[in-house]
């Protein structure tokens, strides 16, 4: 796959409807969400199509049994509501400003998420942009995903491309690491060795490209380590993703 796949943009836009009704597989969803972060037009379209889908889904009214209500109301006592999305403004507040600012802001968000792997979007010209490291993985023909959901409602997805030799992690609603600690990522070698692959950004929702060569990796692990990370895991992984070879 080249960096300037002509059909790419068109294809991605056309997924808005399928995305709005959850009709994408994990990989397509990851790709489309990466695109959404940069495309205000698609965000608006998805929002409006979700309203339409909602009308479709509200035709069936079936009251759940009373026990469900009791369990829900008992359950919320044990769950802390998430704080509002991190400081600096949500997408929606940015959206009300000029399109250029949105584009820049989206690029900043993406860059923060992706780390220092790619600086090209800063060029600021309007020509075709280089794909970021994350986009190259997501768009690779051999990209595959492994997703894990956790009991607290958070989830993490690994996307790996053997041909790119890289893997990324996307998290949703991940609890932040405790004070003085960080989440460290590891690539598991075929020999079973855990190779440090970077520290996850301290954000609940993030996309991070793992350091190192993932072309042979058999798994991705996450451990809790002291700030700054460790050369070797000092605790059992909180999550381990097995990768298909």
């Amino acid at each position: 796959m080249t960096d300037h796949d002509q059909t790419h943009d068109w294809d991605v836009h056309a997924l808005s409807g399928a995305y709005a009704v959850d009709a994408l597989d994990d990989l397509e969803r990851a790709r489309f969400e990466a695109h959404l972060a940069q495309c205000a037009e698609c965000r608006e379209e998805v929002d409006s199509l979700r309203e339409a889908a909602t009308a479709l889904g509200t035709a069936d009214l079936v009251a759940p049994p009373a026990a469900v209500r009791d369990q829900v109301l008992a359950g919320i006592g044990r769950i802390r509501p998430l704080p509002p999305q991190s400081a600096g403004g949500t997408r929606a507040t940015l959206r009300r400003r000029t399109p250029l600012l949105i584009a820049v802001a989206a690029a900043v968000v993406l860059l923060l998420g992706v780390g220092v792997a790619s600086l090209q979007p800063w060029d600021g010209d309007d020509g075709p942009q280089e794909l970021t490291a994350a986009e190259r993985i997501l768009n690779a023909a051999d990209a595959s995903t492994v997703e894990k959901s956790f009991p607290d409602g958070s989830s993490a997805t690994i996307v790996i491309s053997r041909s790119e030799g890289k893997a990324l992690i996307r998290t949703t609603d991940m609890a932040l690491a405790p004070d003085g600690k960080a989440y460290e990522l590891w690539l598991q070698s075929p020999a079973g060795e855990m190779v440090p692959a970077g520290l996850m950004p301290d954000e609940a929702d993030t996309t991070y490209v793992l350091d190192g060569d993932a072309s042979e990796a058999t798994g991705v692990g996450i451990t809790v380590e002291p700030d700054g990370g460790s050369p070797q895991p000092t605790s059992d992984p909180i999550a381990l993703f097995a990768l298909d070879s």
Partner: protein, 202 residues
């Protein structure tokens, strides 16, 4: 029009009528985000029947559907602060979470054990009848039904298979004998027409 449910442990209610003129959901979400469980109980009562109706339609198995409905509301409680009025109605936000959870459940169940298709189809007929009954009762359902007649058969089938069947657009294409890549376009075109006919969104 609804009595205010002051007692969280009170008798179960059937939820707000389909017209959507129940309590204003946005402010309730806002209060819930600050930990107001009474506001959340009101939100639950106003939306439980819609949420459960959709979950049941997608998941089909009543026991599993109850689990999913419970998960959905716990998730709504957890994520209440993330609702952004600039991105759409509170109901759409809530139903988006609902649909995603329901679809996740059928797909993971499917991955665990490839289900018997015959069983599923016979089950679908039963489930469908009970929900159609509820749908007939509502004015909104009529509106949606009328809007659905504006779609081509393929658009309507593609949307229904995706939304109620929980199938991916690739699976929808296979089910409808469409070339791969066509179903996503049918789904999008159909949703756009639906949106413009019912006059929701932008």
């Amino acid at each position: 029009m609804d009595p205010v449910p002051g007692d969280p442990a009170g008798a179960p209610r059937t939820g707000a009528p389909a017209g959507g003129h129940g309590p204003d959901l946005g402010p309730l979400l806002q209060q819930a985000a600050r930990g107001d469980s009474a506001a959340f109980a009101t939100l639950y009562d106003a939306t439980a029947a819609r949420v459960h109706g959709l979950v049941l339609r997608v998941v089909r198995d009543p026991a599993q559907a109850e689990e999913v409905t419970q998960e959905v509301f716990l998730e709504i409680w957890r994520q209440a602060s993330r609702y952004d009025v600039a991105r759409g109605s509170a109901l759409a936000w809530l139903m988006t979470i609902t649909h995603r959870k329901a679809v996740d459940r059928v797909r993971s169940a499917e991955a665990a054990t490839r289900r018997d298709v015959t069983y599923e189809q016979s089950n679908r007929a039963v489930e469908h009848d009970t929900t159609v009954e509820a749908a007939h009762a509502s004015l909104e359902a009529h509106r949606v039904r009328a809007a659905l007649t504006q779609l081509t058969d393929v658009q309507r089938e593609a949307i229904e298979l995706a939304y109620f069947g929980g199938y991916t657009h690739t699976e929808v294409a296979a089910l409808l004998d469409l070339p791969v890549g066509t179903a996503k376009t049918r789904i999008r075109d159909g949703l756009i027409r639906l949106r413009d006919t019912i006059g929701v969104g932008r």
